[in-house]
Symmetry: C2
Subunit: 378 residues, 2 copies
């Protein structure tokens, strides 16, 4: 049984393409992971997410621990069986949602105590508890539990959080390794912190490599710093991480964020944007995003994107019909637009992989971005 | 080109089975028509409705005339093209929704003036306007515009509404026949009125037959009179209508309503129950309805109905997962439960057709109802 193998088949500048092989399937990289927060990629069946080309999805530890609970999912045979997704699943550590969604949080060296946003019940999250929950869920790629700071923040706060995150990374590693059968089948990723500070990032990368992980996430970005600052960080951060392991940029992003990050050596992404936008009437297209609420679409017989392979674009579902569904608040609008957006993201990743393999990433990126950003207003 | 042919292939007591052949497809009878109010069977793609076994769906004139408007749908190539449903569509006349959803209605011999429930704009609905809208939509089976009374009502009110409905049926026939190409391709159904009064029902049936229609609906039932009173009416109403034409019981109903009405000679049905229930966490099963909000399902690995052929039941989607989705307000819960319910209704119709063909309707009905109604509480 292959637990975790990352094989790079081609590079183009800092960008790489290849595949991660795990027991539940192969993840082609660069990869985009649709977000399946509460054991569902919102509005889509698992089979529809797979048909769009996704090799792996993300599950949220925080949401699942509160409802229906990790223990219940374990009794029901694990998250894959529960939700009917048979490929790999990456689970986050719960740290980000604990800090952003819950109330009455209290941080200590031990972990974070918080009240559920659903019913106010108190819970404790720590590296050990996060590893336990992700094991109960049956996660394939487990994320270390780390501490976050919102940017901008004083350097001292960024540094202190990074150091604590490194101590928690060690505890995450130890707790994961004590997980028996699960540890023999799953992978563990560490998370680099350090804000926008190159030296802190390097120190964090060094700590993580001493511990040793299957993959390395770049954490603490896409929290409001803007694309220019993020790209500035990505000019050095990926290179500080081991070349032979996958690099995962958490919570990113817009299509142009992804193109720029791939060019800088990132291999994995996740973001709620395609699914959330789909529910809000926004469609991604090769000519830029479209707001289907706009009345200019009301008699437009064109599909969302004539080059898209999603079932709606392929069968000629019109912008006029989608406009009607969105304006009428019909669930089918959210369904079809979410599906389209997931296809758009997966087709972008496939095109990025092909361009890296062909050594044409620079021209592909210029052509894609030129068309994506120089568009008529929607 | 076959405009409209109804062929009865077997009878079993008053019950009949057969098929209606139209240019867009064949409708096997007894038939259940899922309701596609605003150009979508809520939560499902048209292809999913067809896969469930539905031969025909219903569209709502009132909703579509207000949004996106019949004229816009006509410019976009008609309702079939707009929503991607390629089989026959029956459209109601708009009369029922005008009276139940709109405000400030004023009735006269000419028709009904009303204010839109969406934006308060004033509209006029009449037999002529209803025929025009249904023609613009490209309806395959057009319903005559009639006047409704809520039951219970004084006999005089029921009688006056029936007489006006018969005058409007004449005007509907004339306006439909003036529709040119559409009239040569589509069918027109008249609607019997008369409340629960056998003599008024007979008089209405006689009026309608003098005018002549392709099919005959039994109107004014399923408006709160209860199953016993409805079945009492159905003991005589279908027999008053032509044996060679399809009989359509509007707005019915629960599975046991449908079984009893088929036994009394009804051929066509429509109801929002399977779709609306699906969105509200209720699933129909051969052992009776289940409320998936109920905590007793939270670790139940069983599918909704082990004998159901819907994609969820076939692939083992558990009650535990559906309970989680419904409790979490996830769209996928509504999607999967709506799909299941549409499959349940279509499988019931298929079983009724097979039982009539085999001459075993009485025993099938007894067996189905015994199991459906003698159940544990959900």
């Amino acid at each position: 049984m292959t637990r975790f193998v990352f094989h790079i088949t081609a590079t183009d500048g800092p960008a790489r393409t290849g595949a991660i092989t795990m027991r539940r399937g192969t993840i082609r990289t660069p990869a985009f992971m649709p977000v399946g927060t509460a054991a569902t990629v919102k509005a889509l069946r698992a089979s529809e997410v797979a048909a769009a080309g996704a090799d792996i999805i993300l599950g949220n530890t925080y949401h699942l621990m509160l409802r229906p609970s990790a223990e219940r999912i374990a009794r029901l045979g694990g998250l894959h069986n529960f939700m009917g997704w048979h490929g790999p699943i990456l689970t986050d550590s719960g740290g980000y949602q604990v800090m952003s969604l819950s109330a009455l949080t209290k941080r200590s060296e031990e972990g974070v105590s918080f009240a559920s946003h659903l019913d106010g019940t108190r819970h404790m999250m720590s590296p050990e508890r996060s590893m336990e929950i992700q094991r109960l869920l049956g996660s394939d790629i487990v994320m270390a539990f780390d501490e976050l700071v919102a940017l901008p923040a004083p350097r001292e706060a960024v540094e202190a959080a990074m150091h604590r995150s490194m101590r928690w990374a060690r505890r995450s590693r130890d707790a994961f390794d004590a997980g028996g059968e699960h540890a023999e089948a799953a992978a563990l990723f560490g998370i680099q912190q350090g804000g926008l500070d190159e030296r802190l990032r390097a120190e964090s990368a060094s700590h993580l490599q001493e511990i040793g992980f299957d993959g390395y996430a770049i954490g603490g970005l896409a929290v409001g710093e803007g694309q220019e600052a993020m790209f500035g960080c990505l000019d050095h951060a990926p290179g500080q991480l081991p070349e032979a392991a996958p690099r995962y940029l958490m919570g990113v992003g817009k299509p142009d964020d992804i193109v720029g990050a791939v060019q800088r050596g990132v291999d994995m992404f996740d973001c709620v944007l395609p699914t959330r936008s789909g529910r809000n009437g926004q469609a991604f297209t090769r000519s830029g995003p479209l707001n289907l609420r706009n009345a200019r679409h009301n008699e437009d017989q064109a599909p969302l994107d004539a080059e898209c392979g999603c079932p709606s674009c392929r069968t000629g579902v019109s912008r006029a019909y989608l406009h009607h569904l969105v304006k009428s608040g019909e669930m089918l609008g959210a369904i079809l637009m979410t599906e389209h957006n997931i296809w758009f993201y997966q087709e972008l990743m496939a095109n990025l992989r092909a361009a890296i393999a062909a050594g044409t990433l620079t021209s592909f990126a210029a052509s894609f971005l030129g068309r994506y950003k120089n568009r008529d207003a929607s």
